[in-house]
Amino acid sequence: MSVDVARLPEAGRWRSLFDFYVTTMRTAIASQLQYRVTNYFYMLGMIAEPVVYLVVWTTIADQEGGSVNGITSGEFAAYYIVWTLVRNMNIVFGAPFWEYRIREGRLAGDLLKPMYILHYDLAYFAGWKFVVVAMWLPIAFGLSAVFHPTLDPTALEIVVFIFAIWGAYLVRSMFQGTIGMLNFWTTRGAAVFDLYIAVEMLLSGRLVPLQLMPGWVQTLANFLPFKWTFGFPIESLVGNLSTEQLLLGLCAQALWIGIGLVLFKIAWSSAIKRFVSVGN
């Protein structure tokens, strides 16, 4: 017996999806605003990392006559302060969240939603970003007052940066989500996730600006997704990238979002066949 499912017209489907995103994002904002202290805990923990890097490289720059590989103390400060925003934008529904979702038996409920699994996660975390950015602003002012960043972006750089941080969010969502599928096969994926993060740290510009890395690392980074989640968004605001480089960077992000989505879909279609829910 076949069942006729009434399908909304194409325009109606997009409209519904748009409404879903707006509503979920508003819900995320309202929900996360309730937990300001725990959000600040998370944020302060993350800000410690770039502050440490910043202090170390500033110390070296001061020791070496004012700059390291042409990067001055003020430019290091700009890099790592913008880093803090990019890092916050890069918190996505990644592997540990997938592990939690499966372990706590929440996936069965999520599967009942009449839409692709990625939408809710993308929308909720996107809404959360607005709370995160609002809470980040005073921290950014404080860090700027202490470390005196050299930051003088053009209007184009600011516009590209706004697109680039959302591009980074999507690239990282796709790849972290794909890695998260490993949880359907093993409960001991922590080492693989750590390895992924370690590679990301070295090849993304998260640990140090890629300029400080050996030439072959910089070349390799151009052909992998990591740089487009950290290095490029930061450089788009604090670096001296040409208009062509800025636009090519956004295109590279779009390409990696597409590749990441395809990889996620392949991984998801295999992974979900292994899912067994008991008692739901």
Binding site: G45, E49, T59
Partner: protein, 261 residues
């Protein structure tokens, strides 16, 4: 004496429980290798651009990283699992089970859990420390070694106190899970000598969040930088922080009503 017996008993139970999950050893080994590898790459990057960092040579800094990894292993083996359990118990109201036992509550909530496979991290720290020290010019005397042991013990106590004070916040703030991220982030400050940091940050990681202090002082002992007054001060400071932590724990307990009470 009874406290030691209870701690030993919990340790034995924890070890027996963890030994059931032997694959965790290999997972932990791989995680430690990744952690150490990343730290070594960062060290190599730094020293490819300079010969010393605020007076610390590459070998001395490797020793410091060894101490940080070693202390991190101790934290992940003994302190963090207990603090996470405490947070969960307060959230779920199951802390009653610990409080109703005829033993000191602070002792019980501090020794209930042990993640024995994390000792791999302690071993990694010791290896890094040994390699680092082999490159240090000065020889290490018995006095240095004793000072190191004392300083490391004080460092462990300081980190425990910091964790417990933060975790006690669960009596007022229910959602505390992000405190783990907070601690892991702040703990990274210990990977570099406190003297690198600007004044306000140096005082913060010495007194407010004593991570830098807990790692740097033992490393200073091994690199012949430690002055005896600093060690005496560390002892007094550690004792004062412990006394404050104990008072704060009992103060926090008064705000716990339990779920079944």
């Amino acid at each position: 004496m009874n406290a030691l017996r209870v701690s030993w008993l919990f340790l034995k139970i924890g070890v027996i429980n963890e030994l059931q999950y032997r694959v965790n050893f290999f997972v932990q080994l791989l995680q430690s290798l990744i952690q150490v590898g990343t730290a070594l790459i960062m060290l190599a990057l730094v020293y490819s651009h300079t010969t010393e960092l605020n007076g610390w040579s590459e070998s001395e800094l490797l020793s410091l990283i060894g101490v940080q990894v070693l202390l991190g292993g101790f934290i992940h083996t003994f302190i963090q699992p207990n603090m996470q359990r405490l947070m969960e118990d307060v959230q779920q109201g199951t802390l009653d089970y610990a409080l109703t036992k005829p033993e000191d509550s602070q002792l019980l909530i501090s020794v209930r859990m042990v993640q024995i496979w994390q000792v791999v991290e302690i071993a990694s720290g010791l290896i890094l420390l040994s390699v680092g020290l082999s490159g240090v010019q000065q020889s290490i005397g018995v006095v240095d070694a004793i000072a190191f042991g004392i300083a490391l013990l004080i460092g462990g106590v300081l980190v425990y106190c910091f964790w417990l004070v933060i975790t006690t916040g669960a009596f007022w703030i229910v959602r505390m899970e992000n405190v783990l991220e907070l601690f892991e982030g702040i703990y990274q400050t210990g990977r570099w000598p406190v003297t690198v940091y600007p004044g306000w940050l140096r005082y913060s990681v010495t007194f407010l969040v004593p991570i830098g202090f807990a790692v740097t002082v033992p490393a200073e002992a091994l690199t012949s930088r430690l002055q005896w007054p600093t060690l005496v001060f560390a002892f007094v400071f550690g004792a004062a922080v412990f006394a404050f932590t104990r008072w704060f724990w009992h103060y926090g307990l008064r705000h716990y009503s339990g779920a079944s009470a």
